[in-house]
């Protein structure tokens, strides 16, 4: 085999437009991390390691034929549920929440696994009952979603619970849940809001209250929002220039390499930079939608649609919380925030998208 053939083979299952968008976002991540780390190489270097690992995993998944992917749905979901129950019973408490499970060799956060596991399971379930979908099927699918979400919300990890709910809802929506049922759900959700409110932990209520008045908790969580808004607002149209963000470099911004990295970017690159970033995201999302539209089976359509929409939701929720239109729920900016776990979860999703795109020719008649 020639070198060229080998290379062809290597990239055969990669979707190049999608890969381009992802890589550009990753480069942005390294650029901003260097600034957020006060021109230090610490974070950028370890983010590079995160990226390398995640890309390798993405390549593996992309090369996995779809029927293998489908077969993993049930085991992954069951494992995820078992781990979540394990966390509820024996989990380690950190920062007032029980999210981690110590397996002796490593500490893991099972809710991360469910970000993929839940939509995978639901799509698999719909595929199995595709022939004759009734309201009962939607109800069971909703239950498959609700069980892990409640366990995660109890930990408490509101951010992840909301994101998983969203990814599950997208599957229901794309699977054709009738508008009438959705209407009923909306009304029910509004009606149950007071009940949910009473179930929330104090700090969660606090965070929601703060959305309306960040100055209420100016020393604690509100401080994040206020400083984030000042950073974004003071960036103006052209930004303060790379490495020149005062909010960032004078240490006003909290969590500036993780959840609030967008504030750093926005302060230094301004509205123009924001437009570029939004376009990059939209490019990746658009490509995801095209893959979804061309997907060959029911399962892959649902899966691809859910992955794409969830990715869009991540980006929206993070930028929304930094710019002060959403409460601070602790969602990283996808592909840009520092962190190995979220990078890995996202690229596993993109790996599936690529597999869906590149294996369809082999399946489709």
């Amino acid at each position: 085999m020639t070198k060229r053939q080998l290379w062809q083979r290597f990239i055969a299952h990669l979707d190049l437009p999608l890969l381009l968008g992802i890589v550009l976002l990753m480069l942005t991540s390294l650029l901003v991390l260097y600034s957020a780390d006060n021109a230090g190489w610490n974070r950028p270097l370890s983010q590079m390691a995160n990226i390398a690992v995640a890309l390798a995993c993405m390549w593996l998944i992309a090369n996995l034929p779809l029927h293998y992917l489908m077969r993993t749905a049930l085991p992954v979901y069951l494992l995820g549920m078992a781990l979540l129950v394990g966390v509820a019973l024996f989990g380690e408490i950190s920062h007032g929440a029980r999210r981690w499970l110590n397996l002796g060799v490593a500490t893991i956060q099972p809710s991360e696994l469910m970000k993929i596991g839940v939509p995978l399971m639901m799509a698999w379930y719909f595929e199995k009952h595709e022939a004759a979908l009734t309201l009962k099927n939607y109800f069971i699918a909703a239950l498959l979603l609700l069980m892990p979400v409640l366990l995660i919300a109890r930990q408490p990890d509101l951010g992840t619970a909301i994101l998983i709910s969203a990814s599950g809802f997208y599957v229901l929506f794309l699977a054709g849940l009738s508008w009438r049922v959705m209407g009923v759900m909306l009304v029910a959700a509004l009606a149950s809001a007071p009940v949910l409110w009473s179930m929330l932990h104090d700090y969660q209520r606090h965070r929601i209250m703060m959305l309306f008045d960040p100055s209420q908790d100016a020393l604690g969580k509100g401080y994040h929002t206020i400083q984030g808004m000042i950073a974004v607002g003071s960036g103006g149209i052209l930004g303060k220039g790379y490495l020149n963000g005062t909010q960032t470099h004078l240490d006003f911004l909290p969590e500036r390499t993780t959840d609030f990295i967008f504030a750093v970017y926005s302060e230094e690159f301004g509205l123009l930079g924001n437009l570029i970033l939004l376009s990059l995201y939209f490019f990746v999302i658009g490509r995801g939608f095209i893959i979804t539209a061309n997907a060959s089976t029911y399962f892959t359509r649902l899966m691809a649609g859910s992955i794409t929409l969830t990715f869009a939701t991540y980006a929206f929720v993070n930028m929304g919380m930094v710019s002060g239109i959403l409460p601070v729920v602790g969602v990283p900016l996808p592909l840009v925030s520092y962190g190995g776990t979220s990078m890995l979860t996202l690229l596993l999703g993109f790996g599936m998208l690529m597999s869906i795109e590149t294996h369809k020719k082999l399946v489709k008649t």
């Binding site: 920062h95 020393l219 604690g220 206020i226 003071s234 924001n274 239109i325």
Partner: protein, 633 residues
């Protein structure tokens, strides 16, 4: 036909799916559109506003640190309080040449080498944008001198701050502890507990003693002031203010005067004293000698003072009362006697004949009594009064280690007392299981013999022995010892009493208690081992002396205090409660290397009892405790 329908369905399905997908695309566009609108609003419409906030006219959120709670003794005497004073502080980021600045400053204000070293340490550990203190407690004159020259020192300023002060200094150091600057470990701890917001602006946190264990009561709630500041950092306008809530006041069971007398009664001895009110567990005095000056630690201790404290052979930083573990010596005998009665091993009337040593059957090893030649015929009563070792060698052997372990555990030996201080040690009450775990060896009969007189493997802390003594004084009903009796909120004047409830009731036989207590009273009467120290007391003291061996003696060797270096001499113990009929105070005295309990430890106890029961202040106050006597233990 059916194929056509399915095909149609399939196409319809695809159609519906794509419709939903199109709706999704629209949904994402709406979300991103909303973001874009928000960005335009923040970055274009409100840009000037945020620009000024960020650069020239910043809204500054200023935390207002609450006043730390006071610590008072039972009579309201202040043991820890705050006072305001001036400090000289430097902001490192605004100072170019630090060395030159400090040299220049020292021409105006005295800056000792110690201050410099401490400052360097702070500089190395600093967090961003902190101002660091170089001198504290400036005099008015110094403040005036600097104020006139301030323009020469950018980044250097005078600040008014609250200081923590401990009026009793080293006398209460091991009890009150101290606060110190918040370090990285503290920050992590605070974040872990979601308390970081309440500590914004706080520089200090309780590090040891009550300052540490009651940190959450003492700290208070931080207030917030939102102010608009100009480019020079001066506040222009206050926007809103939430006042801070001061920390709660702790009222202790400690009697400061008693504490002082106890401390001074030790003279030059190292050691510990714990006095407890047996009826409710309130700790009346808590001494560990030597103490140290807690104020050294508040703003970071300079390396020299630290080395001096840390490397001193006297180990002043060691809280002996709480953490010191010693063989209990003969002070264990009253408890062993109770155990013997409880298990029906020895009746009170049964006497043994003491030849001056004890041997296990089939062994020639002599376990010696402290008195050569022995005490002759000894019953239980006499065994306590004259502290006969041979009697307890035999008793322990007959009882067996399991019974000893079970009975003494009930008096809380081998367990932490649970007093409201952190870092307590649990002593050691040996058992078969323990020895197997620790040494992978089975328990030998010989091990039990020395446990009978509080030697061998067994170790107690002064705190434990005090608890057990108080429990004995209170006829077997144990009140968990605690230092704080009341927590007062300075704002609402509400106060919470720390409940004194019995932790356990051993349900001891009154006849057994009566015998042991009478014997303990006889200890302080003529003929007893502590008769001299108790002579002339107008109340009756129940007590027991003890001597804990520091180095072992070979067979046939004689203990000679003169021959041993000072630090290898025996530790002197005395436990007591008084008045014996209706005990108001139970206490433990340990004098390290003090020799005999009766001659060294008991006189210290006497002074404390005299003050507590009679209000008698010893004259002259700082009197070295009794010297090496000929008395025996």
């Amino acid at each position: 036909m059916s194929k056509r329908v399915e095909l149609k369905n399939h196409q319809q399905e695809i159609f519906y799916f794509r419709l939903r997908l199109a709706i999704s695309v629209g949904f994402v566009m709406v979300l991103f559109g909303a973001l874009l609108v928000r960005f335009i609003y923040l970055q274009v419409v409100r840009h000037d506003y945020y620009q000024t906030l960020a650069e020239s006219n910043r809204i500054s959120v200023v935390p207002i640190v609450p006043n730390r709670g006071l610590i008072l003794d039972r009579n309201g005497v202040v043991l820890a309080h705050n006072y305001s004073g001036y400090t000289l502080e430097i902001t490192p980021n605004k100072t170019k040449d630090m060395e030159a600045t400090i040299d220049e400053l020292s021409t105006l204000i005295e800056i000792a080498p110690r201050d410099r070293k401490r400052f360097k340490k702070l500089l190395a550990e600093r967090r961003n944008f902190e101002t660091l203190m170089i001198r504290s407690r400036l005099t008015d004159e110094e403040v005036a001198r600097f104020a006139a020259q301030q323009y020469r020192f950018p980044g250097v300023e005078i600040k008014a701050r609250l200081f923590r002060d401990y009026p009793f200094g080293e006398k209460t150091a091991h009890l009150i502890g101290y606060i110190g600057r918040i370090n990285q470990t503290d920050v992590e701890q605070l974040e872990e507990n979601d308390l970081a917001a309440n500590y914004r602006g706080s520089d200090y946190i309780g590090k040891t003693g009550l300052e540490q264990s009651y940190e959450s009561e003492l700290h208070g709630t931080t207030g917030v002031e939102q102010v608009e500041v100009d480019s020079g950092g001066r506040a222009v306008r206050m926007l809103s203010r939430t006042p801070p809530i001061s920390g709660n006041t702790l009222v202790l069971g400690i009697d400061a005067k008693l504490q002082e007398i106890a401390e001074q009664s030790f003279g030059n001895y190292r050691g510990a004293l714990v006095a407890i009110d047996p009826e409710n567990g309130e700790v009346l005095a808590f001494v560990s000698k030597p103490g140290y000056d807690p104020s050294l630690f508040i703003d970071g201790i300079d390396p020299e003072s630290w080395d001096e404290l840390n490397n001193s052979p006297d180990h002043p930083l060691n809280n002996r009362a709480l953490r010191g573990q010693y063989p209990s010596g003969s002070t264990i005998k009253p408890f062993m006697a109770l155990a013997g009665l409880f298990y029906n091993i020895r009746s009170p009337s049964r006497t043994i004949s003491d030849p001056g040593y004890f041997t296990l059957p089939g062994s020639s090893h002599h376990y010696r009594d402290w008195k050569k030649g022995g005490h002759g015929s000894v019953g239980m009563f006499k065994s306590i009064v004259i502290s006969c070792d041979t009697y307890y060698y035999g008793l322990a052997t007959e009882m067996g280690i399991d019974n000893i372990f079970n009975f003494l555990s009930r008096f809380n030996f081998g367990k932490k007392t649970g007093i409201d201080l952190e870092g307590e040690t649990s002593g050691l009450l040996p058992s078969q299981e323990w020895k197997m775990k620790r040494y992978k060896q089975k328990w030998y009969a010989g091990d039990t013999v020395s446990v009978g007189i509080g030697q061998g493997y067994s170790l107690v802390t002064p705190m434990q022995l005090a608890y057990a003594t108080a429990t004995l004084a209170n006829d077997g009903v144990g009140f968990k010892p605690h230092l704080v009796r009341e927590v007062r909120s300075p704002r609402s004047n509400e106060s919470r009493l720390i409940e004194s409830k019995p932790e356990f009731d051993l349900k001891l036989d009154p006849a057994h208690l009566d015998l042991v207590k009478r014997a303990m009273v006889a200890v302080t009467q003529p003929g007893g081992t502590a008769s001299q120290a108790a002579a002339g007391a107008p109340y009756r003291i129940a007590g027991k002396t003890g001597t804990a061996q520091v180095v072992g003696m070979k067979q046939g060797e004689k203990y000679d205090a003169g021959k041993l270096s000072e630090r290898n001499r025996d530790h002197a113990w005395f436990i007591a409660f008084a008045p014996a009929e209706q005990p108001k105070i139970a206490l433990v005295v340990l004098a390290e290397n003090g020799g005999h309990g009766g001659s060294t430890a008991a006189p210290i106890a006497r002074k404390v009892l005299d003050y507590y029961l009679l209000g008698k202040v010893p004259q002259p106050l700082p009197d070295a405790a009794g010297d090496e006597g000929e008395e025996n233990d």
